[in-house]
């Protein structure tokens, strides 16, 4: 959990809160927040690791263009965390370097 509260509670009322799963751990999200914002508020900044250099990447453009926030959301890879609203119980996983599955 982060040291400082990043959510702003003045001027605007938030909706109900609920839990979502981030790599198997529970974090809190509020209705109307994107997964990207909920993760940021929970202190998580790395959303994926790149394919070539395995570098960490996080939210960058924030408006659905740069594709840096691609995560595995409810089992679907390459889903943009900045464009996907959090829903109760949704499963979010850090997207790692793509490896061919052994058969």
């Amino acid at each position: 959990m982060p040291k400082v509260e990043k959510r702003v509670f003045k001027d605007v009322e938030r909706g109900r809160s609920f839990e979502i799963q981030l790599d198997g751990e529970k974090i809190v999200a509020y209705e109307g927040e994107t997964i990207g914002a909920a993760l940021l508020a929970a202190g998580r900044r790395t959303l994926r690791y790149t394919n070539k250099f395995e570098h960490p990447r996080g939210l960058y453009c924030g408006i659905g263009l740069c594709q840096e926030c691609r995560m595995i959301i409810n089992g679907v890879p390459n889903t943009q965390a900045c464009q996907t609203l959090a829903t109760p119980g949704c499963q979010v996983e850090t997207q790692k370097k793509f490896r061919k599955q052994e058969s």
Binding site: P2, K3, V4, K6, R7, V8, F9, K10, D11, V12, E13, R14, G15, R16, Y30, E31, G32, E33, T34, A37, L40, A41, R45, T46, L47, T50, N51, K52, F53, H55, P56, R57, G58, L59, Y60, C61, G62, I63, G64, L65, C66, Q67, E68, R70, N78, C82, L85
Partner: protein, 491 residues
């Protein structure tokens, strides 16, 4: 396949204003927008779940947006509004390819307006891919519409008035800003600025208000300063900053490190021209106005008859200009569709044209100061990733250049730059600038990364699920904040 007389792409200020004007004249309008809710970036509304307690605390943009959106919603019988709709291609015979709610479909048009807006100009420098480096627009969306601060100790860097707006929003939300770095030298050109501002009092007032809020919070505003490097283990922990000369080249003896966990960068905006390019409209390069922009006539029509372009996507100029241009285009389209006589259309356009000329005079001064200079594009080192998606480094691009690459599209073939999932939006604009300076050639000779359909990633399953039926009905507009009843009472 359905047809609409006038299709508007983009639900920001320009698109909404155009739809309103055309609908008022009697035109059947369809407005397509990618987002859940109308408003674009500047008038972005809150998602369901948020309730606005004090609209006035949210700033002028918010209230101004509410008024425009309410006017739009009062014309619902005339405007078919489709949210969550991505226009991913424009094909022959005036046909648009759409993706919506997991299915794809086509829509044809008689007249088309492209109002796709702009995004923050990406600038590569060492460490710019670290988590904790945000674009100013991304940070603004987080603070304004999600009410989450991007970090605990924030550094703002870039150029132009949008930085000051973001700073004000962060401070009002209770965030901490270490410093604001302005690459341009606003000080010396202050007098010139005043002459330009003359007669544009609302701009001046708005600017001063933000200025005061920053001064009051004690945030240092450093002119002629940029970020050279972002450092940290896995995320931003510090930023190296320095003073720059008039070409924005850092004076290295002034370089110092500041401890911050977040860097927000706003070096101006790039016009989103993917659709006007796909429609084969003619474009010219003007860095001041956002890179490649479509050529337009006074009535906002592009070189392709019946296709109009307004707002930041046709030349970055902000919300006020977007609204005015939208009105002009809406009236023009209504006229050429036969809903207005040319005499009436001309009369209605005249006052908008006047206001546009007045604003343009003021803009010129700001643009000159904020124009990205050469030095900005010399920050990347050999190891710096230029194409974030395909992880192509400057070293690879230099090698390709040595191998007689003369056009930007050759980088695709030789290095895969621009072939990743952002479709070249993040690397293209800076690659053009870097090549332009290196080769000392005009941008038109270097070309551009031609957009291809789909202009954003669309899953194969969505393309396969062709559902024309889903297009029949539009959705009603939800305006967040005050509800309509309350609004009327207030008046």
């Amino acid at each position: 396949m359905k047809e609409s007389e006038f299709v508007v792409i983009g639900g920001g200020p320009g698109g909404v204003a155009a739809a309103i004007e055309a609908a008022k004249a009697g035109v059947n309008v369809a407005l397509l927008d990618e987002n859940e809710r109308l408003g674009g970036q500047v008038f972005r509304q809150f998602e369901k779940g948020f309730k606005v307690a004090d609209p006035d605390a949210l700033g002028m943009d918010f209230n101004e947006g509410q008024e425009l959106l309410l006017q739009f919603s009062s014309l619902q019988d005339q405007i078919r509004y489709l949210n969550n709709t991505l226009v991913w291609g424009i094909f022959k015979d005036h046909t648009l390819a759409l993706a919506r709610n997991g299915t794809s479909s086509n829509l044809s048009f008689k007249h088309l307006l492209v109002a796709t807006g702009a995004y923050d100009r990406p600038v590569p420098f060492p460490g710019w891919t670290l988590p904790g480096v945000f674009t100013a627009g991304g940070a603004q969306k987080l603070v304004k519409s999600e009410r989450v601060l991007p970090g605990e100790n924030i550094l703002l860097a870039g150029t132009g008035p949008l930085q000051v707006v973001l700073a004000d929003q962060i401070l009002k939300a209770g965030g901490k800003i270490e410093a604001i770095l302005e690459a341009g030298n606003f000080g010396k050109q202050w007098l010139q600025g005043l002459i330009g501002i003359w007669g544009n009092w609302d701009f001046l007032k708005e600017g001063l208000r933000y200025w005061h809020s920053i001064r009051k919070a004690g945030v240092p505003l450093l002119r002629s300063h940029i970020v050279l490097e972002a450092r940290g283990d896995g995320q931003v922990e510090e930023a190296v900053i320095a003073k720059v000369d008039k070409n924005w080249r850092p004076k290295l003896n002034t370089a110092r490190s500041v401890k911050v966990d977040t860097i927000c960068l706003g070096y101006g905006l790039v016009s989103s021209t993917e659709l006007t390019m796909l429609a084969e409209c003619e474009h010219k390069y003007d860095l001041r106005l956002g890179g490649y922009i479509p050529l337009r006539k006074a009535n906002m029509e592009t070189s392709v008859p019946g296709i109009y372009a307004v707002g930041d996507g046709a030349g970055v100029a902000g919300k006020k200009v977007a609204i005015i241009e939208g009105c002009i285009a809406g009236i023009s389209a209504a006229c050429s569709l036969g809903y207005l006589s040319s005499t009436i259309a001309r009369e209605r356009i005249k006052p908008y044209q006047k206001r546009l000329n007045k604003i343009n005079r003021f803009r010129k001064i700001l643009d000159d100061i904020s124009l990205p200079r050469k030095g900005l594009y010399e920050l990347a080192t050999d190891e710096t990733v230029i194409c974030r998606c395909e992880e192509v480094t400057l070293k690879q691009l230099k090698a390709a250049l040595a191998d007689d690459t003369i056009q930007i599209k050759d980088f695709k073939r030789m290095t895969r730059m621009g072939m990743g999932s952002c479709e070249g939006r993040m690397c293209g604009p800076s690659a053009i600038e870097m090549m332009r300076h290196r080769l000392n050639a005009p941008a038109e000779d270097i070309g551009c990364l031609r957009p291809r359909p789909s202009i954003k990633p669309v899953a194969l399953g969505v393309l396969a699920a062709n559902n024309t039926m889903s297009m029949v009905s539009g959705v009603s507009v939800q305006v967040s904040g005050r509800d309509r009843g309350q609004r009327t009472e207030n008046k």
